[in-house]
Subunit: 292 residues, 2 copies
């Protein structure tokens, strides 16, 4: 028994989806559980996971999930939702179904329909990096990151305790939160940054196609603001589609804010523009302060 | 005589505006020139510049510029334009007037009206950092950065050579470019990233004001995409106002791109959305590749 009163040590964990996030979770957990197995549709990824010892067994279907005490879904969100719908009859009674997808409302809804003998908790770790795929996975990825847990109608005390033990084991900070609230918040602080970064890449890229020398002037400002545009399109498309209402709300708000800036520039009144940009700077400085 | 055939060693340089950019330029140049003096309206900044030995003399008016062989204007852009208009009669014949403002068209236009005995070149180093002010100045800031030079009607061969020697002395890479072309290119790869970063800070900040817990979910994606929102409002207002036409063009294009993304999300067709996001990722990857 660990400090949470639940031992991961005698439990078998199966991670479905061995990309950057699933692979990193497996790396952080493998020495703290009885066995760690993996499911991935890509044979190259399965071979690499076995070779690096990240998983002890690997398969391309859900047979390994059937034997596990804890199943972690770490695929793109639309696949998570589909798998939650399919996996119920395969899970052993008392097993925990857990996921680490970026949108929680539709996942929790699907988990609510699971058989009553199954425990289920939604999860969303707030970390990642620019490069996707198992070869960029690292055990330290989750360290210090906020890790959201969302209750479902299948969240027994045991299920919540095991999920919490996983969060602790990977070194993250647990935040328990309502799924709907989570989805609206991440639309503003995670999905909107991606959308704006994408708009920058497209707009600047379209211009640079007419004059490639423009790229030679790009410095750290362009680099940082466009970083998220390099994110995996499959993962991001699932996020934007499954969180559509909240994402559309943030896109409308951001367009409104760009229109306001355009109007201030057209007006040409330095004092009004400076006041607007001081508000912008204040928000960013306040965020930095509360963070440290 | 150095490799460029021009010696900075026997020239006196006066830097007007001892902020991050002017202070860093002074630090990188001070041991390579006959004397380095500074002008700043802020007495605390002048005292700090003298104490750190960044300048040998400091004043709050243009008297020191009158004695210098090279005058570098390193204030916000609207102040640069005003100073170029005022400083002509003060400069000694054969002196070089140089600036490091982020917008070049209106500066070059003002330089074209200088007395014929004066040399003048516009400059724009593509570097910086999040923190403003002399206390963040460092000699290495310009190392390896692209440094744009724009010809004016006062750009004699001697003037261009001295400007080039300054670029070399601070370790930057010279790019000679038409001012109008420069202004349109930087609108897309420098001013638009700032505007999008500002829109993110305002939109997310307005939401977080209704629910401060949202901030606790913000991770590296929000941090990087909102970094430029922390830029100095006075400097940025001058840039947006003096480059208004090009900036408004980029803001319209970015709004159009966000509208396109909204339409794709509303349509709910995964294939079309993925194709769009793959274009985004490709642009960002292509930019990274040509950069390395």
């Amino acid at each position: 028994m660990d400090e949470d009163g639940f031992t991961l040590r005698d439990r078998t964990v199966c991670v479905v989806g061995l990309g950057l996030m699933g692979g990193s979770l497996a790396l952080a957990l493998r020495d703290r559980v009885a066995a760690l197995t993996g499911v991935d549709v890509d044979p190259v990824t399965r071979a690499a996971a076995l070779e690096r010892g990240i998983v002890s067994r690997a398969a391309d279907d859900l047979t390994l999930a059937r034997e596990a005490d804890v199943v972690v879904l770490a695929t793109p969100v639309r696949t998570i939702i589909r798998l939650v719908g399919e996996i119920g009859p395969f899970l052993r009674p008392g097993a925990l179904l857990f996921d680490i997808g970026s949108v929680k409302g539709p996942v929790v809804e699907a988990m609510n329909a699971l058989p009553e003998a199954v425990g289920a908790v939604g999860g969303h770790p707030m970390c990642g990096k620019a490069e996707a795929g198992l070869r960029h996975a690292e055990a330290a990825l989750y360290e210090g990151a906020p890790f959201v847990l969302c209750r479902t109608e299948r969240s027994t005390e045991v299920a919540l305790s095991i999920a919490g033990a996983i969060v602790n084991a990977v070194g993250a900070r647990m935040i328990v939160m309502d799924a709907g609230w989570h989805d609206r918040a991440v639309a503003f602080i995670s999905h909107l940054p991606y959308a704006l970064s994408a708009a920058l890449a497209l707009t600047a890229g379209t211009y640079a196609a007419t004059d490639p020398l423009a790229w030679s002037l790009a410095a750290s400002g362009f680099r940082d603001t466009s970083r998220l545009a390099g994110s995996d399109p499959l993962m991001m498309a699932d996020i934007l589609l499954t969180n559509a209402d909240a994402v559309l709300e943030t896109l409308d708000a951001a367009r409104g804010s760009l229109e306001e800036l355009s109007a201030l520039i057209r007006r040409g009144d330095p004092e009004a523009l400076i006041a607007y940009l001081e508000r912008v700077q204040q928000i960013r400085h306040d965020w930095e302060r509360q963070r440290s």
